[in-house]
């Protein structure tokens, strides 16, 4: 596991340049351009289970879900930030990418610190310090548990269909 550390206001153009937004939508098309204008080494070196640590307002800017799809596809375990922009936050719920808002954990991190995240327990360990984060409301975990919004929607449609019968 590796920690990728970024600053404040990492926007959607840095995460996935707008010029590709109408030509790339599958994970295979997205991955080579992930974080292209922020950190060209990211897409080549990122590994399953890696963690991104960032400052305030991560994901601000456009309604652009490619970075979320891409980060989920390369296996990023969680993005931990001081805060997130709202459309990005919703997109992450919809794709099942774990976002954790925990400014204390971000501030406690030093180059080389060991980080462990236990999503179910709501706990982040940074070096020798443990931080907790609140569980998400039931309406939101239901989407994640279904395997993302589209899977959740499919279930809902099937249920509606049954009611009609």
């Amino acid at each position: 596991m590796r920690v990728w550390r970024y600053g404040d206001n990492v926007n959607t153009d840095m995460l996935f340049p707008g010029k590709y937004t109408y030509t790339c939508s599958t994970p295979e098309e997205i991955i080579p351009h992930l974080l292209e204008d922020l950190d060209p080494s990211f897409s080549k070196n990122v590994k399953k289970g890696d963690i991104i640590l960032a400052g305030k307002n991560f994901g601000c800017g456009s309604s652009r879900e490619q970075p979320v799809v891409g980060l989920k596809a390369v296996g990023v375990k969680a993005v931990i930030a001081e805060s997130f922009a709202r459309i990005f936050y919703r997109a992450a719920i919809n794709q099942g990418l774990v976002l954790i808002e925990c400014p204390q954990a971000v501030k406690a991190y030093r180059e080389g610190s060991e980080i462990k995240v236990d999503i179910d327990a709501g706990e982040i360990v940074v070096g020798d310090k443990t931080f907790t984060f609140p569980r998400l409301p039931r309406e939101i975990t239901a989407i994640r548990d279904a395997g993302g919004l589209l899977a959740y929607t499919r279930k809902k449609l099937e249920a509606r269909e049954k009611l009609k019968e």
Binding site: N9, P17, G18, T21, N57, S62, S63, N94, E139, L157
Partner: protein, 419 residues
Amino acid sequence: MGMTFAEKILAKYSNTKELSPGEIVTVHPDHLLTHDNTAAIIRKIEPELKKYGVYSKSLSVIVLDHVVPAASEKTALNHKLVREFVKEYGIVNFFDVGVGVCHQVVVEMGLALPGKLLLGSDSHTCSYGAVGAFSSGIDRTEAASLLLTGETWLKVPDSVKMMLNGKLSKGVFAKDVVLHIIGDVSASGVNYCSVEYHGDVEQFSVDDRFTICNMGVEMGAKNSVFFVDNITKKYLVSIGVSSSYDAVYSDEDAFYSRELEYNLSDIVPVVACPHTVDNVKPVSEVADVDIQQCLIGTCTNGRLSDFKVAAEILKGKKVHPDVRLLILPASRRIYEDALKKGVIETLIKAGGIVLPPGCGPCLGAHQGVLAPGERCLSTANRNFKGRMGCKEAEIYLASPATVAASALTGRITDPREVM
């Protein structure tokens, strides 16, 4: 305890009496806006569409605007797919290439009415607060789900009250006001909040309110709103809205998580410097910076009043030989009006290049992409690195007056010097 605008709208759309911030409700929005990204959205749900169809033919508003006319085979194919979808499912509100930028079209066609709830797979969907609607951006997957089910969840936001007091000075515009506020509160200053504008707002036309609400997302807002008044009503009459609507106002005793006050007479012409929208400085501090491209237009400042201001400054003059001036009307209707009023002629004679109504160079896909080392002064809403197609270029944001004045001198210029 009274309720804020956001609380009232979300209560109305979830059939709930009272709501407080943090609660999650299920809503059925009046409209769902999607644009060129409709292609990617419908590709996600092909089997479901075949099986269940769309939830409602009148829910969707689809506008082709982002890369228009198509810039490549791939974008042309996207447009084609969208047109086929529209025909097959009988989508009522479809606006093909050339009608305008989606947000302008939604408002101009009378689809965003006071008291309505709209969602859209574009972050600047927050613009419709200009006419008293509640509107907010979502992502593509959520738009796909809405197409099928007609519903989604929303969290009731905290509300922030912005008091705008006093009167703007000459040469200072709505764009300067909103940039000033973003510079003050920061790019995440009102994250997840509903922003209400109060105070001396009668000096702001619907065009001005559009500019201010459009940039709400650049301070993190979920939605922004100006309440319906005579100015809104007149505007709605002017665009031929005949249907009735129910304006929603916040209560006097509503609770705000924050109240901010701005004295408008203190605000001066400003620019947002690279590469964040909250890096705001008075024009005087960056007045020596030379520029190679100027853009007047986009959903932020591509309306008739914007071009009129620019034309007044440029009339009978020529833009600086080192500057390319791009003119991007936000809609065909605006383009026509500007032609009739002679505004377009003035801008062309001054050296302006008129682009077809749409997003044009705003998102860096085509038409006016920048080269490394170049600087653009633009009336758009974002100056992120790489936004105009080149990560080694710089984008500055300002009002149409500042952009027009700067086009003449070739460096960032205070419009008061030439007005």
